[in-house]
């Protein structure tokens, strides 16, 4: 389940390990998952020994899948149910399908944490987007979300969107990070912020968002090492857009439905090892299993998940 990098690698590896009948379900109309919107370079240095963009990395796997007869790819297919007995229900245009699998690999990826989860006070105007959603809008739909932006969180998605928006002519007024360091790669701080003269405010947070219909400005305040606001340190930043890049949550609702044990803090499967879940015959790989920072490792570990599923089927 899931036709991003994890699902594609798992399906191909399971096939290579001799699994006869594989169904790959993807809810979008294309394979590739999040890679399709990650148009920046930085992928594949380990797996392909060259630097690719996200779509290029995905394209290599899509081509392999096209040549592979033993894998049926079903696009626009949204899984709505998984039982402990591995019965699967999914919608595809015009039909509700039901299949039973002898093994299931969950490669459902992540969704984004939102403004609500970090509790920024203030009004609720238009112009506040999760950074990954903004990335999809800019890179795939051709919409620019605003003219003057502030970014919350200095993870890789936030940094990459800072550069992307700057290149598109948006005035990026700063990246606000509550921690002392960036969670993102150093190279992204350099090539996404320093290259474009975008300030990075460590140990700062947005204390309020202002605006009636549309964002008008944000209040930014410095915090101490206990993350408490430092009085008198506040300043205002006029802007019409706020991008929120504050982490990812693995999507494991299907596993939960199948009775699998979930770690509530991280929303990841509780299991004895990587790619495993507490439900026999149900595996989880890629960002659904744990949040990775490099797709190359997703490919490596997900291929292992494919082989683990193949081994499970042989033993049965």
């Amino acid at each position: 389940m899931g036709g991003g990098p994890a699902g594609m690698a798992a399906a191909l590896a399971a096939r290579a390990a001799g699994v006869q009948d594989i169904l790959l379900l993807e809810r979008d109309q294309h394979l590739g998952g999040i890679l399709n919107q990650c148009i920046h370079p930085g992928f594949g240095l380990h797996h392909f020994k060259e630097e690719l963009t996200g779509p290029e990395y995905a394209d290599r796997f899509v081509r392999l899948l096209k040549e592979e007869q033993g894998i049926e790819v079903s696009l626009r297919s949204f899984v709505v149910k998984l039982t402990p007995g591995r019965e699967i229900s999914y919608f595809r245009p015009g039909a509700l399908e039901e299949v039973r699998a002898r093994a299931v690999i969950l490669a459902t990826g992540c969704r984004e944490r939102t403004r609500e989860m970090i509790q920024i006070p203030g009004s609720r105007p238009a112009g506040i987007y999760p950074a990954g959603l903004a990335q999809k809008m800019v890179n795939m739909e051709g919409w620019i979300p605003g003219r003057e932006a502030v970014i919350v969180g200095s993870g890789d998605i936030g940094l990459i969107m800072a550069r992307r928006m700057a290149l598109e002519g948006v005035k990026v007024k700063g990246v606000v990070e509550i921690q002392k360091t960036s969670r993102g790669l150093v190279r992204n701080v350099v090539q996404c912020l320093e290259d474009f003269g975008i300030p990075l405010y460590f140990r700062h947070r947005i204390s309020r968002i202002h605006g009636a219909d549309r964002v008008e400005k944000v209040d930014v305040v410095r915090v101490d090492d206990n993350l408490k606001d430092i009085p008198g340190s506040g300043f205002e930043v006029p802007c019409d857009t706020v991008l929120v890049s504050v982490g990812l949550i693995p999507e494991n609702e299907l596993l939960e439905m199948a009775g699998g044990e979930i770690d509530r803090a991280a929303n990841t499967p509780v299991a004895a090892g990587v790619n495993l879940t507490s439900v026999p015959g149900v595996f989880a790989c890629g960002n659904a299993c744990k949040v990775y920072d490099l797709v190359d490792w997703v490919t490596r570990d997900s291929a292992l998940a494919g082989r683990m599923a193949a081994e499970y089927l042989e033993k049965k």
Binding site: Q29, H30, G32, N36, I39, H40, P41, G42, L45, E51, T53, G54, P55, E56, A58, D59, V62, V138, N139, M140, E141, G142, L167, E168, G169, L185, V186, R187, V189, V190, Q191, D195, D293, L294
Partner: protein, 120 residues
């Protein structure tokens, strides 16, 4: 003059210490591989970046086609290049790696498609 910079050639992000005399590099230290040395010299002499962006399409299955420059271009040309990219519309199907515009802006680099795209 001593300068410290981060190598951006790969996600390792090595911290490079560079001894330079104006734009002439005397020594580079801290790199975990050869590319770091090359990067430091290039970065001091004339910084280069690969540009990736998306261009509009017409009559194709996706609204935008992701593209990249075939080679890095001078950093100070990024915005000029973006402005020129915005004038391009791709209206026939291409394969990943196909050239969308040749010798772009006379920089000696091509604009290359990053994925295959079909008709609607």
């Amino acid at each position: 003059m001593k300068r410290v910079m981060t190598c951006i050639e790969c996600p390792q992000g090595c911290r490079l210490e560079i001894e330079a005399d104006g734009r002439r590099v005397l020594s580079v230290a801290g790199q975990k591989c050869k590319r770091g040395d090359k990067y430091a010299r290039q970065e001091i002499e004339a910084p280069m970046r690969t540009l990736t962006t998306s261009v509009l399409t017409g009559g194709l299955e996706l609204k935008m086609l992701p593209v990249r420059t075939s080679k890095p271009i001078p950093k100070e040309k990024l915005f000029e290049t973006m402005a020129a990219v915005k004038r391009i519309v791709v209206s026939s199907p291409v394969k990943a790696g196909a050239v969308v515009a040749t010798d772009f802006l006379g920089l000696g680099v091509d604009l290359v498609a990053c994925r295959s795209i079909d008709k609607k």
